[in-house]
Symmetry: C2
């Protein structure tokens, strides 16, 4: 298969982890005779630095022409501390999602047997957890009109949703549930928000088309508790943009490190894959960033094109690295000298030679 | 001291747990020669049933005249499943907060030594956790304009904040931090929301008035993770209405049960005290509702009037009940026949006779 992949490493640890994901994809291409080409482009703070624009035209252009996008992370501490900045790194990511129409963000949360004791949660609490979060990604309060009064003393954001926006992602979530445990949980705040009541109505209506799915509803505050108290009750979670942001980052505690969670952002025409973690500028260039989330994002990219064996091989490599403790310090491994690159190298070697790889 | 207390038991388990809190307050009044009078009023689904109004005029009136309000919980399953209802139980609570100007909601999250093994989190994770959440309660997306298009296909909510609203609660949070570990964490979503950037600016400015406070900023998605990964990093958390709702319910996993968390809602003229849990209609009238949150709400009421010894005695009673496993089934106690009323009775007996109370 020929795939033209746009690579947007972004800021902070983005470039380091994406380099490992790219390496893994190259190994897969070699092993399976695919032709993957990679085109790099700027986004975020590094794009602002060079072009004064968090999402240069050229980047949009490269992304639009690509078959898929591999995205790192954006943001840095200076911007985080400056709530006055008008041009911001995050605009790069948000505008990209919007302009490519990436309305569905899928975040799998799977507890690894080998990591059960790394989690803050008790083992019995999390063993066998397997959740798929469907987060709406181009609507809601992120994209509604924002206002700041002239005197700077009043600020507002609008959270708006249309039936159309809810329906298109809800169908995908119902379908995903059909091939899993057939349970769908809509998370909203219908006791306080008009937009949440719209979600609840539309999803209730669609449910009649999926009679074999058990549908339930949960308020976001309650879901934030239940996700920790009893994560195994969930199969597919469907939710709006902001709630999905919160729940999916929270869910990383189940897996043991946010450095392990990847996501796919899908639209009708485009597909983007990224780790869910941020740019963590503090950790940049120290070799300590966990590349697994980025590598699993690459696996999701392979899934997306039906390259099932290839994706499975990448995941096997990841599993093996975890089993052998070839992991970065966030997972507190036995070895204290395993860098970002070493983890990538290990998985690359595994792909080149699945039967022989061991700690070296 | 003479106190005129408005009691709004509300729906579901509200009346059962509030009855225990009232009993405890009566025991305190007896023991310390106070005169507490209690005036009951309707709110929520039970008010809708009787008056078609979730917050009858009479209830507002009673609350306005009272020195303090003891609130149970509102809502029921039928309304939760009906996103079309125009009159809703929650409006009772939300309008009450707004009309009494209760802009500061304070939620303490304290890990009990005796319950460390009840939490989903590992012991070492949570031991000694002591967090105070300051949640803004009368602004933000709960109270901004709500719209539903005529065809019912577009819905929106506005999240608006003014400098004034941020300042008044921020000062209180800074001051609270001064008498604690001197750390304040503002939780917001300043990388996506204009209203959050206003929060960050205002709090940054005020910080110059509190030079001995370590101030840091955290995005809500990150905070939802950090609260579980490393709860001990927090001292006072300050946040807007919706984020506070989510974080404080999530924080209940640290304590082991949401049936243990109480809150105070304060304004310039009025003060209301309530458990943070909901109405759980499913659990109603079965004697299984944990009254501790309501009883601790009563303790916060005593705090509010400077009745420190009285509040301490109530808390001692609560501690003793936990130590002796006189607790409802949510805490999986040794005994399987401890009802809501029994827990209340135990604490009442303890107050009447602190030195002699034991399991009977
Ligand atoms: C960087 C930020 C705007 C972004 C979001 O909130 O969507 C991030 O947290 C994410 O989840 O991808
Ligand atoms: C009932 C609901 C509207 C309320 C809220 O979201 O404020 C509740 O969850 C709370 O936290 O008191």
């Amino acid at each position: 298969m020929k795939l033209n992949i746009a690579v947007l490493p972004g800021d902070g640890i983005g470039p380091e982890v994406i380099a490992q994901a790219e390496k893994v994809l190259k190994a897969i291409a070699m092993e399976y005779n695919h032709v993957f080409t990679f085109q790099h482009a700027l986004v975020g703070a590094s794009a602002i630095e060079k072009t004064n624009n968090p999402l240069p035209e050229e980047t949009i252009d490269i992304c639009e022409k690509a078959d898929a996008i591999l995205f790192g992370a954006i943001g840095n501490a200076a911007f985080d501390l400056d709530p006055y900045a008008k041009i911001r790194p995050e605009q790069g990511l948000l505008r990209l999602r919007k302009s490519l129409g990436l309305y569905t963000n899928i975040r799998p949360v799977i507890a690894y047997d080998d990591l059960l004791n790394k989690s803050s949660l008790k083992k019995k609490q999390i063993a066998n957890t397997n959740i798929l979060i469907y987060r709406e990604l181009t609507g809601g309060i992120y994209f509604g009109e924002k206002k700041l009064s002239e005197d700077g003393n009043t600020a507002s954001d609008i959270c708006e949703y249309t039936r159309f926006e809810v329906e298109r992602i809800a169908h995908l979530a119902f379908k995903a549930a059909q091939s899993r445990k057939r349970k769908l949980t809509l998370v909203d705040k219908a006791n306080a928000l008009e937009s949440s009541r719209l979600w609840r109505r539309v999803v209730q209506e669609l449910a009649t088309q999926y009679p074999n799915i058990r549908l339930n509803f949960m308020y976001i505050d309650n879901a934030a508790m239940e996700l920790i108290m009893n994560p195994k009750q969930f199969d597919v979670i469907l939710t709006e943009n902001m709630f999905g942001d919160i729940l999916s980052e929270e869910a990383s505690v189940i897996v043991g490190s946010i450095g392990l969670l990847a996501s796919a952002s899908l639209g009708d025409k485009h597909a983007m894959f990224e780790p869910i973690h941020g740019a963590y500028s503090k950790a940049a260039n120290r070799g300590i960033a966990n590349p697994i989330a980025a590598i699993l994002a690459a696996a999701m990219l392979l899934d997306h094109f039906g390259l099932d064996d290839e994706a499975a091989l990448v995941r096997e490599g990841v599993d093996k690295s975890l089993k052998l403790h070839i992991t970065t310090p966030d997972l507190n491994t036995k070895y204290d000298n395993i860098t970002t690159t070493k983890v990538g190298d290990f998985i690359e070697d595994f792909i080149n030679n699945p039967d022989e790889t061991n700690l070296n």
